[in-house]
């Protein structure tokens, strides 16, 4: 009896699947492409990272050697340091500034909200390469607008892109913050507009000032959106490539003293752009991925724990 039943459900399942064959056809492209261009490269990358391979001749299994070499390479640490310095410093104005701007525009103190929004968002639709070319000029030593403006205040010309290379990071940070502040602001603004006005009214009646409303009402209610932008930002940080690359005249070294070398530039320069160290480059890619995962989990954990703590408090 039981046997018959299972057979029948199997038949049912099969006929059900046949009935919905259109649905499977509709979703098939994604799964096919994902297996070929998604899962396969990621799995293969892990495999290749244990080999020495120039992409053409035979592969030599070398165990963890790629990873060990990687951690001993001074340039890797330099690239990691640069990436973290640029990413973390740039995101302070991007996240806090975006939040503050969104709050001001949402509070209706000023008119012309849409004009400001549009202007702040403009960098998002422009090519990073074109923008970097402009900033390279603005940061120019003997002819740049920034040094010209500084000269009004009695400053000496600053060699932003040359010198010992440490100021390249400043230029990248400025450019990065300039580009992304508007995107974050628009996201926060949309989130704030979803918060009911009654809450603000109640806070106002209770005599809360703008700063307190921002920190005690807006930010806690926006938490899921803020977490999302922080995670997006940390992924963006590790993929930082175009801006420093163009700014240092696409030299792959990141300019003077590798001051603008980022992890992504380091990776692509090992293979396929500069060399053909495919195994080594795969190991770099996996280390970058691991860092992205660890940071994302940490962000979720920190924010998630806070949430449960708050709930406990309310009880």
């Amino acid at each position: 009896m039981a046997k018959v039943k299972t057979v029948r459900t199997k038949n049912n399942l099969w006929s059900e699947m046949k009935r919905y064959k259109v649905a499977y056809a509709y979703i098939a492209p994604f799964y096919i492409l994902f297996v070929i261009f998604g899962i396969f490269p990621i799995a293969a990358g892990f495999y290749i990272s244990f080999f020495r391979w120039d992409g053409l001749s035979g592969m030599h299994f070398i165990g963890l050697e790629n990873y060990l070499n990687l951690f001993q390479d001074i340039l890797f640490w330099k690239a990691l340091g640069n990436t973290l310095i640029i990413g973390i410093t740039a995101h302070i104005p991007i996240l806090l500034g975006g939040l503050a701007l969104a709050y001001v525009l949402n509070s209706k103190i000023v008119k012309g909200e849409n004009i400001f929004k549009t202007i702040y968002f403009m960098p998002m639709v422009t090519s990073s390469v074109a923008i970097t070319i402009i900033f390279q000029n603005l940061f120019g030593n003997n002819y740049g607008l920034i040094n010209y403006l500084l000269s009004f205040f009695g400053e000496e010309a600053v060699n932003w892109l040359g010198g010992n290379g440490s100021l390249i990071k400043v230029a990248v940070i400025v450019m990065f913050a300039w580009k992304w502040i508007g995107w974050n602001m628009v996201i926060y603004l949309a989130g704030m507009q979803g918060i009911s006005n009654d809450i603000y009214e109640a806070a106002k009646i209770d005599g809360a000032g703008h700063i307190r409303v921002l920190f005690n009402i807006s930010i806690p209610l926006l938490k899921p959106i803020i977490v999302f932008t922080v995670i997006q930002s940390s992924i963006g940080m590790f993929n930082l490539f175009t801006e420093p690359f163009i700014l240092t005249n696409s030299s792959w070294t990141g300019g003077q003293n590798n001051g603008g070398l980022t992890l992504m530039m380091y990776l692509l320069n090992k293979a396929p752009q500069g060399g053909t160290a495919y195994g080594y480059a795969s190991a770099v890619a996996y280390v970058i991925t691991m860092m992205i995962i660890v940071i994302s989990l940490a962000v979720y954990r920190i924010t998630g724990e806070k949430e449960t703590a708050k709930r406990g408090e309310n009880k």
Partner: protein
């Protein structure tokens, strides 16, 4: 540095005092701050336009030019002589448009299927789809490149179009839209009228999805148009370059005429910028779509 810091401090104090004492002061201070930030956002664009009308010598002089020059025609001639910008424009258009069209087709089909049909395994398949959005693509970048070269897709637009053309985010987003905007009764009615499932989708459903197509299309279009890293790896022939790659060639070529390079940057930026200024609301909702719908 000290003069500058003192000046900033004084300005800040003045703004705070104005905001505190006069009744309309708060408004005034806010306008000053917002206006100043808007000014900073606009300066690079303005300087790009200004510099594309100057000769190389004028650009390299001090103090820098802050008003339009007279060399726009000369720069234009130099630009056409130095690089094949119409071709790059065409390449960018081919890649971006075919990618965007395919994304819209596959993602709307997938999203519609997940929203409307109750097929066996739907929940599991959708969970897989959501999980794939968490995977950082960086992990597979090297094998991806090797695959492209084994397929013979280096110097082929296919490498930039096919792999990402049915993406998880687009399907997820289209499903949300279909769930809220496609009434089940409509699908039912069309079925009773004897439409085949394909006809229902293309004739009945697709027109309803037009707003969603606009938002998702803008997002994909902007990202691919401005993409630099993937084309850099794939397109190695000069005649196949997209606009960002063409600009990169001009940067690394030391002999490039600077005015021509600025004009080329303007050419790469202007089409999207104009489109954005005409429909900024659409662009902003499209490009931030991932964050707002949870």
């Amino acid at each position: 540095m000290t003069t500058l810091l003192i000046l900033i401090l004084i300005t800040a104090i003045v703004l705070i005092v104005i905001a505190r004492i006069s009744p309309g002061g708060k408004k005034f201070s806010m306008y000053v701050i917002l206006g100043f930030i808007a000014f900073i956002m606009l300066v690079p664009f303005y300087m790009m336009f200004v510099m594309s009308t100057h000769t190389t010598n004028e650009i390299y002089s001090f103090p820098p030019a802050v008003w339009f020059g007279r060399n726009l025609a000369g720069n234009f001639k130099n630009m056409l002589a130095a690089v094949n910008i119409p071709r790059a424009f065409l390449n960018s258009c081919i890649i971006t448009i075919s990618y965007t069209v395919l994304v819209l087709l596959f993602c709307s089909m997938g999203g519609y299927a997940f929203a409307v049909y109750d097929f066996p395994g739907r929940k599991k398949l959708f969970a897989i789809l959501l999980a794939t959005m968490m995977i950082p693509w960086t992990a597979g970048i090297i094998p991806w490149f090797i695959m492209m070269s084994r397929f013979g897709w280096i110097n082929d637009f296919k490498a930039l179009i096919i792999p990402g053309c049915a993406n998880a985010f687009g399907i997820f987003w289209m499903r949300q839209y279909c769930q809220n905007n496609v009434p089940a009764s409509l699908v039912e009615a069309a079925r009773i009228d004897g439409c085949s499932e394909w006809t229902i989708f293309f004739r009945v459903i697709a027109p309803i999805l037009l707003p969603a197509y606009a938002s998702l299309g803008i997002m994909q279009f902007v990202n691919v148009w401005n993409d630099f890293m993937q084309p850099l790896m794939i397109l190695r022939k000069a005649e196949l370059q997209t606009l960002p790659l063409l600009l990169k060639t001009m940067v690394s070529d030391r002999g490039t005429d600077y005015g021509a390079m600025m004009l080329a940057s303007t050419c790469a930026v202007l089409p999207l910028l104009i489109a954005f200024l005409c429909a900024s609301k659409f662009f902003m909702s499209g490009l931030t779509a991932g964050a707002i719908k949870e």
